[in-house]
């Protein structure tokens, strides 16, 4: 059973739920709610342009927002409100995505500026969040705009990201004063990681199609990944050897997915332009479709009664009937209010429920 949590007028690009806090980005404004009661805690309107991503760190409770206005903010909880600090990013174009690491002492931001990546941390000597840049090597043909990225769950130091040319890289964000060498001891990508070292670089599926999102498959020592590409494919990819293990398409819509998230060790959810969230699983090096988790928009054939009524209309109506005769073999059932009518932009799983946000401005909770 689905329930609409929020129904806003503008698209929701991103949202995050952690520690009973719900942060929703709508245009250039961030709304922070108490999740259990949906009571508004604070509204942040410091960004000039659209907010592109929101993330909350579970340990510290800090909220990170990135925006097209080339800035990003860190909101620190204090006395039931949030203290705002701006990050010195030094990027000249939009910041597309931001993500905290698990410990919450640094975060990564991706930009459209020369395909650069920023590793941000708090510098206590100057009391300011600063950004250290990583650029893709010149020898590698790369797009100018980076999309989503994800932290290696094994060590919290390596990061995998992709650009608008379908180029996927794993790099090290090792910072001497923040990270521990011991964390990298068991990494399959090697053990010596200077900051910014490129460890792997691939064009998955050899087609240079942009990657919308990616996620590490749990319990594979960070070797296997699931990627969703703009051509609508879902790929199980071996990031160590650069090989595609399995590739699948949603046979019902063929539309691309925006987001992929693992909910158990083998099961993951994908959602995107088909307006639905789909449950897949990784099973013996293959991807298996299980079910649709959200309420789908149904199409039913037109009833005879409708056709008769239509045919008995006035002459003009008959003319229009002839004009439209190629398009009236099916009709759409009015969609209930608790389903997305536009693309899903983000999703999260909280205590057994799936929560999705869409370009239609809805935030909907579905029971899994």
């Amino acid at each position: 059973m689905a329930k609409v949590l929020l129904n806003l007028k503008s698209p929701i690009r991103s949202f995050c739920i952690k520690n009973d806090v719900l942060a929703v980005a709508q245009e250039n404004i961030l709304f922070i709610y108490k999740y259990s009661t949906l009571a508004l805690i604070q509204t942040i309107d410091n960004h000039d342009k659209t907010i592109t991503s929101v993330d909350i760190n579970e340990r510290t409770g800090n909220i990170l927002t990135t925006s097209e206005d080339r800035t990003c903010l860190v909101l620190t909880p204090s006395n039931n409100t949030y203290k705002i600090s701006q990050v010195a990013t030094r990027f000249l174009k939009s910041i597309n995505y931001g993500k905290w690491n698990v410990s919450g002492n640094k975060f990564i931001i991706t930009s459209s500026d020369m395909g650069q990546l920023g590793v941000c941390y708090f510098d206590e000597s100057i009391n300011w969040w600063i950004s250290k840049h990583i650029s893709i090597p010149e020898t590698q043909l790369h797009g100018n705009s980076l999309k989503k990225c994800c932290w290696d769950p094994e060590n919290d130091i390596l990061i995998t990201f992709s650009d608008n040319l379908g180029n996927m890289l794993t790099v090290s964000t090792f910072l001497k004063h923040l990270d521990n060498k011991e964390d990298l001891k068991d990494s399959i990508y090697g053990q010596k990681f200077p900051f910014g070292k490129v460890l792997t670089t691939w064009y998955p599926n050899d087609d240079l199609i942009p990657i919308n999102d990616m996620a590490y498959v749990p319990n594979t020592r960070s070797q296997m990944m699931v990627l969703v590409q703009v051509d609508g494919s879902i790929t199980l990819f071996d990031n160590m050897n650069g090989k595609t293990v399995f590739k699948a398409y949603d046979q019902n819509s063929f539309k691309p997915f925006n987001v992929v998230k693992f909910i158990t060790d083998t099961e993951f959810i994908v959602a995107g332009y088909n307006n639905n969230a789909l449950l897949y699983s990784v099973n013996n090096q293959t991807l298996e479709f299980h079910k649709t988790l959200t309420e789908a928009k149904r199409e039913v054939p037109m009833k005879n009664d409708d056709e008769e009524q239509f045919a008995s209309g006035i002459q003009a109506l008959k003319m229009f009937k002839n004009m439209d005769s190629r398009g009236i073999n099916k009709t759409e059932v009015p969609i209930s209010n608790d389903a997305h009518v536009m693309a899903i932009t983000d999703l999260t799983v909280d205590s057994g429920n799936l929560i999705t946000s869409g370009l239609d401005g809805k935030l909907i909770v579905h029971a899994i």
Partner: protein, 160 residues
């Protein structure tokens, strides 16, 4: 006074440092990484002869399934020769009357390649007189493989 400007401020301008990537650069990268094959004039001439002989013998199944959809000509030395190859493919597509068994024999990847040829041929003016034959091919490919094949054609950077 000649070297008065020590910092190249133009290099810091976002519009100049974010250069646009051309199709040629993408093609060169794909060739250098061994993702696509670059055809020399001799190789392409051989392929053209094979396409023409199979069209003449009316062996369309062998032509489309074993040659055209398996050896896509993404990159070639001579553009004139590539056009000659496309002419050969276009002639074969027009002369083939029994489409269904060929489409049923294609895999997903092979159909993706064949539809690239169809769209390429439709985009060239001199082939447009017989456009309805090509549209028929596109129609049948979409009926078998679904609308996803159009999305894959649009997004794939390996272009004919």
């Amino acid at each position: 006074m000649e070297d008065w400007r020590k910092i190249d401020i133009d290099a810091l301008d976002a519009s100049s440092r974010n250069k646009r990537i051309t199709t040629k650069e993408i093609n060169e990268t794909l060739v250098s990484r061994g993702i696509i094959h670059h055809y020399s004039n001799d190789e392409l001439s051989g392929l053209i002869t094979e396409v023409e002989s199979k069209t003449y013998a009316k062996d369309f199944n062998g032509l489309f399934v074993d040659i055209i959809s398996k050896y896509p000509v993404y990159s070639a030395d001579d553009e004139g020769l590539k056009l000659k190859f496309l002419t050969g493919v276009s002639t074969a597509l027009i002369n083939c009357k029994n489409i269904d068994p060929i489409i049923n024999a294609l895999s997903d990847d092979e159909a993706s390649i064949l539809i690239k040829y169809c769209y390429k041929i439709m985009s060239i003016k001199e082939f447009q007189n017989n456009g309805h034959y090509i549209v028929n091919w596109v129609d049948k490919i979409i009926a078998k493989f679904g609308q996803g094949i159009i999305l894959r054609y649009i997004t794939d950077r390996r272009t004919i």
